[in-house]
């Protein structure tokens, strides 16, 4: 075998690529279990109703039914930031689609039939769907029904800051400088409102869970969850088990994008499994059910900025996040997008309020970017309006205003390793846009024009959570990497293997990265916030260094040299005196007569995180690292029909250091595609009763291959002093700028601002018509 190093900075094929391409990868639904029962869930048809009675006795008429549960069978509440959520609805339902009862039977057909035998008596109550209205902030609708009367009594994390007597489960505030004074001194002030409706993650793998109460007293869950340890601890608390009794196994996972970070249906399946005499219970969702399980937030944003001499001097914003019937991570989304809310700009006077608000809609959760796509939509369209009013080219305006290394952020952080300007310069050069000289739209005839638009964004990872890893080198020279970061398709397992190859010189083909399993792989908080490479990567790198140090020590002993003189070459350990290579197995044999594994340990412990002040949002070190991204979109706008054809997206991301450049480009391409979907066509539609109208891929449109333009990914590398090899995260930042860049290109052609996404042809055409009529009237 020829030796291939494939360490850091190289671009090997993904280590899990072949098993996926060949269809050998096993997802939750592919695993086989003895005596498996299938579950089905009965859900509420009402967005808001009292449950007067439930009669489940009918299910036993159906042959093969083994268990049935309702809210009365399961005590306790759970939730990511606020423990407000029952496993099954008890005395009331808060959204159409909320689980009310569940059945386990010998097959799915029996379970489905049994559901039809359950009688539920509801009394419909008044529902509220608009987050601004639900927050009690609409002038004409001050009285609103409360979703959680006992909001203040719930257990909650410090990040949730509820407002008593309201539907606001968290209110994040940021105060810096004096916005009123700056507004009064500005050359001009512009105030606008933007809106991004709910959309969906659309993972290729719908949710699947198997739970079994094993005879030896352990609870074993196989699930497609991004955070095995969060789930372990939540389930342990709910069901009165210790952490080491809960085993969470994550098989190959088919896309997460945030929708699988937090516990969702696992508690319900465990509740069933407790009643099946140790038989495993499986719940596999249909695509229609998956649409209702969890969604992205919808958001309304008010933004007001003051500009003086071409610089943004003040910004005031309010965001109303529609978090749905239960808080889930809503307060964290409000906070994490909140402290980056004003955009990647140096602004000295900032006042931000972000409200996470309960509504009678399905539960909203994390979505790739954690609110950043929404706020970027608002502040980047707004930035182009500001530039226009100031009479400055929008690219130049950004270059004049973006935050740079050494600047003080909105929370009071002294910024380091900032690649924002570098990203803008990279896309400008690639697209041929000289700062200050934006190309004019090209008339293509018959109402069609081609133009360029720019947008940029930043995202703080926020997580100072730790990660641990072990690297086990076996005598034959093969390696097992144990880490609980979940590879959902983003390629993290390949990144970890490359790091181990880098540190040990062992070829990539000999390195295997384990699937996460809380009985095997060590602690990692979550696979979220683009933190995998930075945090879990640091742990893996440290573990590999630790293992290599042990080999060096054996080498020193065998070769009679100092440990640091021992180097690796082509997978072998070099004797510095003779230059001869020895295999790891022979080295161990000579050193200690063999029979052992080398186990390296590593941790990512981030020190110095400050959090954010509850009243002012100030904090000098709120995030372990920042990410920066900028896009230029080349768009063909059909002004007669409203159709858009995105021709090209130049997309730059500051990755710190590309561990695997091809993988980085793929992440950018995926992020841009997702951002375009949100910006151009995706929207969950609900009727006036809060029932989802388009919960399937026929009616909910995502881009097809032909809708995705040519994407030109550009890597900017401003190394992070604490990141492994200088790397930052990457996964989320590319989602934000794509849609605003397109919208800004379209605005250049029409001059009429469309402030609500998605930019569907109909929305555009009718907005332009109305805009034109308004112009004619003026």
């Amino acid at each position: 075998m020829t030796y291939k190093h494939e360490g850091v900075g190289e671009a090997p094929l993904r280590i899990d690529g072949d098993i996926k391409v060949l269809g050998k990868a096993e997802y939750v639904q592919d695993l086989e279990y003895a005596n498996l029962l299938e579950a089905a869930v009965l859900t509420s048809p009402y967005a808001s109703a009292k449950i007067l009675a439930i009669d489940v006795s009918g299910v036993w008429q159906v042959e093969g039914v083994k268990a049935v549960v309702t809210g009365r069978d399961v005590d306790g509440l759970y939730g990511t930031t606020v423990q407000d959520r029952p496993v099954l609805a008890r005395d009331r339902v808060r959204y159409a689609g909320e689980p009310v009862a569940a059945v386990a039977a010998i097959n799915k057909a029996a379970a489905m039939l049994a559901l039809t035998k359950i009688r539920v008596e509801y009394e419909e109550t008044i529902a509220v769907f608009d987050p601004e209205e639900a927050a009690g902030m609409k002038e004409d609708k001050k009285t609103v029904p409360l979703l959680h009367e006992n909001l203040m009594d719930y257990e909650r994390e410090i990040t949730a800051m509820p407002v008593a007597g309201s539907n606001i489960c968290s209110h994040f505030k940021l105060r810096k400088g004096d916005v009123e004074k700056a507004f009064s001194e500005a050359d001009f002030v512009l105030e606008e409102e933007y809106e991004v409706p709910r959309n969906h993650h659309c993972c290729i793998e719908p949710y699947g869970v198997v739970a079994q109460m094993e005879r030896e007293g352990t609870l074993h869950i196989w699930t497609c969850n991004q955070s095995p340890y969060v789930l372990q601890r939540n389930l342990a608390a709910l069901f009165g088990l210790s952490w080491n009794q809960v085993r969470v196994t994550i098989p190959t996972l088919g896309g997460g994008f945030g929708s699988k970070i937090y516990p969702s249906l696992e508690p319900l399946v465990v509740a069933l499994a407790q009643k099946t005499d140790h038989r495993p219970v499986r719940l596999l969702l249909s695509r229609e059910e998956e649409f209702l399980r969890i969604t992205n937030h919808g958001c309304k944003i008010k933004i007001k900025s003051g500009v003086k001499e071409g610089k943004v001097t003040a910004r005031q914003m309010a965001a109303y996040w529609d978090t749905g019937a239960y808080a889930d991570c809503g307060p964290l989304v409000a906070r994490n997008s909140g402290f980056t809310f004003a955009g990647p700009y140096k602004i000295d006077n900032v006042k931000l309020d972000a409200y996470s608000v309960y509504t009678n809609l399905p539960v909203a959760t994390a979505f790739r970017g954690y609110g950043i796509p929404h706020v970027t939509w608002a502040y980047e369209l707004h930035t182009d309006r500001l530039a226009e009013k100031a009479g400055i080219d929008p690219l130049q305006f950004r270059l004049d205003n973006v935050i740079q290394t050494g600047d003080i952020s909105h929370t009071g952080e002294e910024m380091q390793a900032v690649g924002m300007k570098g990203c803008l310069e990279a896309v400008a050069e690639a697209a041929g846009w000289q700062p200050g000289q934006r190309p004019a739209p090209v008339d293509l005839g018959n109402g069609r024009y081609r133009s360029l638009g720019v947008a940029c964004s930043w995202k703080g990872s926020m997580r100072h959570y730790g990660s641990s890893a072990t690297v086990r080198i076996m005598e034959e020279g093969s390696v097992e990497v144990n880490v609980s970061n979940v590879d959902m398709g983003q390629g993290s397992s390949t990144i970890f293997a490359q790091m181990v190859a880098e540190e040990t010189g062992i070829p990539l083909s000999k390195i295997r990265v384990q699937h996460p399993d809380t009985f095997i792989t060590p602690y990692d908080r979550t696979t979220s916030a683009s933190r995998g490479t930075f945090h879990a990567g640091t742990a893996v790198m440290e573990a590999a260094k630790d293992a290599w140090r042990q080999i060096q020590e054996y080498g020193a002993q065998v070769f009679g040299c100092r440990p640091e003189e021992v180097k690796s070459s082509e997978g072998k350990v070099l004797n510095p005196k003779t230059g001869e290579g020895l295999s790891i197995g022979k080295l161990i044999n000579q050193a200690v007569m063999g029979g052992i594994d080398i186990i390296g340990k590593g941790h990512s412990r981030m020190k110095g995180g400050t959090g954010l002040d509850k009243e002012t949002g100030q904090g000098a070190n709120p995030t372990s690292f920042w990410m920066y991204a900028a896009d230029i979109a080349e768009v063909e706008t059909d002004t007669r029909t409203g159709e858009l054809k995105v021709l090209k997206i130049y997309a730059a991301s500051d990755v710190g250091k590309a561990i695997n450049p091809v993988n980085c480009r793929q992440q950018i391409e995926g992020g841009v595609t997702m951002g375009l979907g949100i910006g151009l066509m995706e929207e969950m539609l609900f009727d006036e009763k809060g029932r989802l109208l388009n919960g399937n891929f026929h009616d909910y449109k995502i881009p097809t291959a032909v809708d995705v333009p040519e994407i030109i990914p550009l890597l900017v590398e401003v190394p992070h002093p604490l990141g492994p090899y200088g790397a930052k995260g990457l996964g989320e930042a590319p989602v934000g700028p794509a849609a605003p860049a397109v919208a800004n290109a379209v605005y250049q052609v029409t001059g009429i601002a469309v402030r609500r996404s998605p930019l569907r042809p109909e929305n555009l055409k009718l907005s332009w018509q109305k805009g034109k009529e308004a112009e004619l009237r003026d």
Binding site: L115, T116, E288, E289, G447, R640, L685, T704, V706, E762
Partner: protein, 296 residues
């Protein structure tokens, strides 16, 4: 979250016309015909449609195929298409591409490749969607249909097939057997579609046109729109306006305005009446320009 399933039905797959006739004579009511099933199978599963007897026509293999009958003295040439011919077959057929371009042009924009492999021309017509992609091309190609029932056959122009959205004039025991396209050698035809994405979408509006010129003036013109009313429609005022005029962009634009005037689109979740009315003139104008560009 619960999948509502339709009531049970009896499935049968006759292998001959005699067998089909026998089944239809015996069945009292609630017969539905299954062709490609790309709409019907979904609707039966969700319970949107239900039937007592599901009669699968795929056993009648002679319903598939595309053939040309050459012109003879006193008789124009024609292309005959079996009603169970798949949309994909229309898409790739060289004969149609050469002599009736609007139809393969529409076929290649219908659904996904997988859908086009199963869906059939007859099924697309009998499903009676106001935006069926093959409807507008057949209208401008002057297609006529051969219908069959146990009591005999009859021929109707394709225009007379539809009553309103989801409803045809077919008798309960009647099926479409064949679609015939009379050939007109000097004709240019085209199809266009407006939808929120560039593939795998149902049209908001679709349009087809057919055009012939004589001495620089329009000697024959057909314009048809889907989504402009409760069934696919010919735009006869717009056609009358163009007849005898020069084929200019300006005239086509005026024809577009007339087409919007004779349209009565509805608002649906896919698009509002307002948006449809705003885009009908544009699509009409552009599809005429495209048909003109196809004239040799």
């Amino acid at each position: 979250m619960i999948e509502q399933r339709g009531k049970g039905y009896e499935y049968c797959r006759p292998g001959s016309w005699e067998e089909l006739a026998a089944i239809l004579c015996k069945a009292e009511a609630g017969v539905m015909f299954l062709a490609g099933g790309t709409d019907l199978a979904v609707d039966l599963r969700t319970g949107k449609k239900s039937c007592a007897h599901l009669v699968d026509l795929k056993g009648l293999t002679e319903l598939q195929g595309i053939a040309e009958t050459a012109a003879e003295e006193g008789k124009k040439g024609e292309i005959c298409i079996g009603s169970l011919t798949s949309i994909h077959q229309l898409e790739i057929n060289p004969l149609l591409q050469e002599k009736a371009a609007a139809l393969p042009e529409a076929a290649c924009q219908l659904g996904s490749r997988q859908v086009r492999n199963r869906a059939t021309l007859g099924g697309n017509l009998a499903n009676a969607s106001p935006t069926a992609d093959t409807a507008a091309p057949l209208l401008v190609l002057d297609a006529f249909l051969e219908l069959w029932s146990p009591s005999g056959s009859r021929h109707i122009p394709v225009e007379d097939l539809w009553q309103k959205a989801g409803k045809t004039f077919l008798a309960a025991d009647e099926i479409i057997r064949q679609i015939t396209l009379p050939l007109a050698p000097g004709r240019g035809t085209a199809f266009m579609k407006l939808g929120p994405r560039q593939a795998m979408d149902i049209a908001i509006i679709n349009a087809a046109a057919s055009l012939e010129l004589e001495d620089g003036r329009i000697s024959q013109v057909r314009i048809a729109l889907g989504g402009a009313g409760e069934r696919p429609l010919r735009m006869k005022q717009a056609e009358a306006f163009l007849l005898g005029k020069e084929a200019t962009a300006e005239h086509f634009a005026q024809a577009g305005v007339l087409a919007a005037q004779e349209s009565s689109p509805r608002s649906s979740r896919r698009a509002s009446r307002e948006y449809r009315l705003a885009t009908i003139p544009v699509l009409t104008e552009r599809v005429l320009l495209k048909a003109l560009s196809r004239l040799s």
